[in-house]
């Protein structure tokens, strides 16, 4: 993987996850999840991971610049590509979703059939991928089975705010629960 690909992958990962890039892809990184994840996504998506990175880079290059929200919406298939007026290729969006879940859960959900892996096949790509999964940071906790805290911490709310656990000053924690989905498919 080229440095350029890795940089694009890291930037896209930060945009999609909402986490600070320095937090998920630190310059000094003894664990190396960004490299592992890019390699894994490349190996399990035919050419569509490379195509996705190219799409992302081209969206970043548009003048005047698109907002991160606009770029993310295009990547996730929620909005059309402004240069074509059409959604981006659905396989590229599927790879983006798989990469986003990989960051949050440490598991790769095969987005479409490839040789050797059917759509939907789930793989925990490494023990550290599970342990460092961002889902636990989004809940201001730890991966189940990997507490770094000490006896009794659970009788108080988390010491670290959501802004700290995500490195994102823009997020607001503690919003009201959205229960509008209640009863949708009883």
């Amino acid at each position: 993987m080229s440095n350029s690909d890795q940089k694009t992958f890291n930037a896209m990962s930060a945009l999609l996850t909402g986490f600070n890039e320095q937090l998920i892809a630190p310059q000094v990184d003894p664990i190396g999840l960004p490299k592992l994840f890019l390699q894994w996504a490349t190996d399990h998506s035919g050419g569509d991971c490379a195509n996705l990175l190219a799409t992302f880079a081209s969206l970043q290059a548009i003048v005047p610049a698109l907002s991160t929200d606009e770029i993310g919406s295009v990547i996730m298939g929620v909005s059309p590509d402004p240069t074509t007026g059409e959604p981006i290729d659905e396989n590229q969006t599927a790879v983006a979703q798989a990469i986003l879940k990989l960051w949050y859960l440490g598991s790769w959900y095969q987005p479409f059939d490839i040789a050797g892996a059917a759509k939907g096949k789930e793989t925990v790509v490494s023990d550290q991928a599970y342990i460092k999964g961002l889902a636990s940071q989004s809940m201001q906790s730890h991966a189940m089975g990997n507490s770094t805290l000490t006896f009794g911490y659970w009788d108080k709310p988390p010491a670290a705010s959501l802004q700290v656990t995500t490195g994102n000053d823009e997020v607001s924690a503690g919003g009201p629960p959205d229960t509008s989905g209640w009863g949708a498919s009883a």
């Binding site: 999609l16 996850t17 229960t179």
Partner: protein, 666 residues
């Protein structure tokens, strides 16, 4: 006759086996422990942890051998697992043609051959340390009336389903204390008795637990603030409700070389730091006496006796190894002792005993024809909701408090009691979070029922939505007291051609929940609505009547049963019929689904007469004076408390009886 090889042979190294071994080896007895599964040298916690981390399905069996998805026909010590009972393993014809030879779950996947009419949903381990590798640590004592159900609540009713025990709670108080000290239970007597003495929780005078209590979670405190002292719960006339700290076999301080609990939220399936007691701790204590010989990977195939009224004279076992391509096994080996203790849990013990043919058409220890009958579990009603405020789940031990104060009451004359466990793991148990909700909001799906708009999120929006859900999720688990039923049972069938990797027969299970038990589910649903109303919480519980096959067709969910008491719901005030308080949004539920609690109980019950029970109150076989069958298989009733502490206390009692019996022969 030559001298026996040992004073005592113990089959099984889970809870009861190591406790009895430790008690008696310290007294000088020479003991052989035979364990069917592999040994667990110190490195195995890391190996098991690694299995857990890398398994996609993190069910309670996920860390342990044999591997997930192994064909039980090809393993030396296959065992029942939760994953084996997943919907994708249900035989397509299960509901149409149950009975001998037709099983609910595919026999290539499911070790247990389940003939129904309902599935048994709990698993266990066949490794050194047994099922305590993934117990929660809950160490509740039974209550006074748990031992006297028939005389207290059914004396005038010939059809009352609950028997009395042959002992009363006072007979066990001392043994409970010894068991709590062996396990290292963290709790405070004054806090327990403050709210629970009223329902018959008892301790010896002056007793104290070995470790201070484990602090309650943020969630526990919030629920206690809303509920404590309230006494207008429907169906529980005048009974006060309290949230109480749960005594637990987890370290609130260092114990030997074991660390203090660090709140890994992973007691099940595996504590990464062994802050939770397990059977290997006590086994090591037994081995340190120098009086214990330990043999792993040895599966006992027969207990030998000449007939009822005759002693057991030996056991036969096979030693196995996993070879490169197949299992290698020894010829049968015979070992002898003065006393034999079978401690192989409530399915493997009756399986072994039913395999122990005495050559006269009879099997060992079964003159009562009770062997294998009365299989019980705590069928568990899970109710999950979102709180209006953040309560920060997914932190701390999996559970730190429960509602115990409704475990006893006059209602037990006609419906099942339960205890309510408060879970600290969000909706992990309920819907498989964080995986399900993350996938919903990334992929625009709604498996969690919380993404009705099918939003596909990223960035800060994703973080905020997940934070909002995960910090408000919680659940109650109602452990419902199941009645013993003669035809809920473990049997073997040597003619069905279905065997394990040692060519031994596999357990055939028949199981059902009685009307009395099912009514406990109805009262749990009503109770949960009142709790949600008081908390302002929104109920997201789903009881699925049907499952969807891979090809999209629907078929009946075997763990669903019809609501046994529609009238109870019709009579509720309208406020408790509001859809956001009700499971499935149904004011009058069509039915309920149940989970297993991992509490395998009752298949060689103790009693006061030989005609209707397998063992006496010391767990000694009525039929063979040198044979003891121990563990929670001896429970005549399951009560509402998790079984491990009581089976440990009964093991202490058995150790005393064996010591006395040996004293006459040593």
């Amino acid at each position: 006759m030559s001298d026996p090889d040992y004073d005592i042979i113990i089959v099984g190294a889970g809870v009861a086996g190591p406790i009895i071994a430790k008690e008696l080896s310290q007294a000088g007895a020479k003991i052989l422990i035979i364990e069917g599964g592999p040994e667990t040298p110190p490195t195995n916690r890391e190996e098991y942890m690694s299995n857990f981390l890398l398994n996609t399905v993190k069910t309670l069996e996920s860390p342990y051998p044999p591997g997930m998805g192994a064909n039980p026909a090809k393993e030396a010590t296959p065992r029942a697992t939760i994953a084996q009972t997943f919907g994708n393993n249900v035989s397509p014809t299960w509901h149409a043609d149950l009975g001998a030879g037709n099983y609910i779950y595919n026999a290539d996947v499911s070790y247990l051959l389940q003939e129904g009419p309902q599935p048994f949903l709990s698993g266990y381990k066949r490794i050194t340390g047994g099922t305590t590798w993934h117990w929660l640590g809950t160490s509740l004592r039974f209550l006074e009336h748990d031992f006297t159900m028939k005389s207290t609540y059914g004396a005038d009713d010939p059809d009352y389903p609950m028997p009395d025990w042959p002992i009363v709670v006072d007979d066990l108080l001392d043994a409970y204390g010894r068991a709590e000290h062996e396990i290292g239970v963290s709790a405070d007597v004054s806090i327990q008795t403050k709210e629970l003495a009223q329902i018959g929780l008892k301790y010896s005078d002056g007793y104290s637990y070995p470790m201070q209590e484990i602090p309650p979670s943020v969630l526990d405190v919030q629920i206690a603030a809303a509920l404590n002292g309230f006494q207008n719960f429907i169906n529980f006339e005048g009974q006060q409700v309290f949230v109480t700290s749960t005594p637990a076999g987890r370290n609130s301080q260092p114990d030997g070389n074991r660390r203090t609990c660090a709140g890994n939220t992973n007691c099940i399936p595996i504590c990464p730091i062994q802050a939770k007691w397990d059977g290997t701790v006590t086994l090591a204590g037994a081995q340190s006496t120098g009086n214990v010989t330990f043999k792993s990977q040895c599966v006992v195939t027969k207990v030998v006796s000449a007939g009822y009224g005759q002693p057991v004279t030996g056991i036969e076992y096979i030693h196995w190894e996993n070879g490169p391509t197949k299992i290698t096994k020894s010829e049968p080996i015979t070992a002898t002792a003065k006393i034999y203790v079978i401690a192989a849990h409530a399915i493997e013990t009756p399986k072994l005993m039913l395999m122990s043919d005495m050559g006269n058409g009879q099997t060992v220890a079964n003159s009562s024809d009770q062997m294998g009958r009365n299989l019980m579990d705590h069928p568990l009603y899970l109710s999950w909701s979102l709180m209006p405020e953040q309560i920060f789940g997914f932190r701390g031990p999996l559970a730190t408090s429960g509602i115990e104060s409704l475990r006893d009451g006059p209602f037990r004359s006609d419906r099942a009691a339960w205890r309510c466990e408060i879970g600290n793991e969000g909706w992990n148990f309920a819907i498989g979070d964080p995986w399900t909700t993350v996938s919903d909001f990334v992929d625009g799906k709604n498996a969690s029922h919380t993404n009705a708009n099918m939003d596909r999120l990223f960035g800060a929006g994703l973080i905020e939505q997940l934070n909002s859900h995960f910090t408000r999720q919680w659940r109650m688990g109602f452990l419902v007291e199941q009645t013993p039923e003669a035809d809920s049972r473990v049997t073997i069938n040597r003619d069905n051609g279905i065997v394990d990797g040692l060519h031994l027969p596999r357990p055939v299970i028949n199981y059902k929940l009685s009307e009395y038990t099912r009514r406990g589910f109805a009262s749990a649903e009503v109770f949960s609505r009142q709790v949600y109303q008081m908390l302002g919480a929104t109920n997201f519980t789903r009881n699925a009547q049907n499952l969807t096959a891979a090809d999209g067709t629907e078929f009946p969910n075997p763990v669903w049963f019809e609501n046994p008491d529609r009238d109870m719901f019709e009579a509720l005030p309208d406020a408790l019929k509001a859809p956001e308080l009700c499971a499935n949004g149904q004011a009058v539920p069509d039915g309920f689904t149940y989970f297993g609690a991992g509490h395998l109980v009752g298949t060689y019950r103790m009693g006061s007469v030989a005609r209707t029970s397998v063992v006496d109150s010391h767990s000694r076989s009525w039929d063979h004076s040198t044979l003891f069958l121990v563990g929670d298989g001896v429970f005549p009733t399951i009560t509402t408390a998790n079984p491990t502490l009581t089976l440990a206390a009964l093991a202490m009692r058995t150790a005393d009886a064996i010591k006395a019996q040996l004293a006459t022969t040593l």
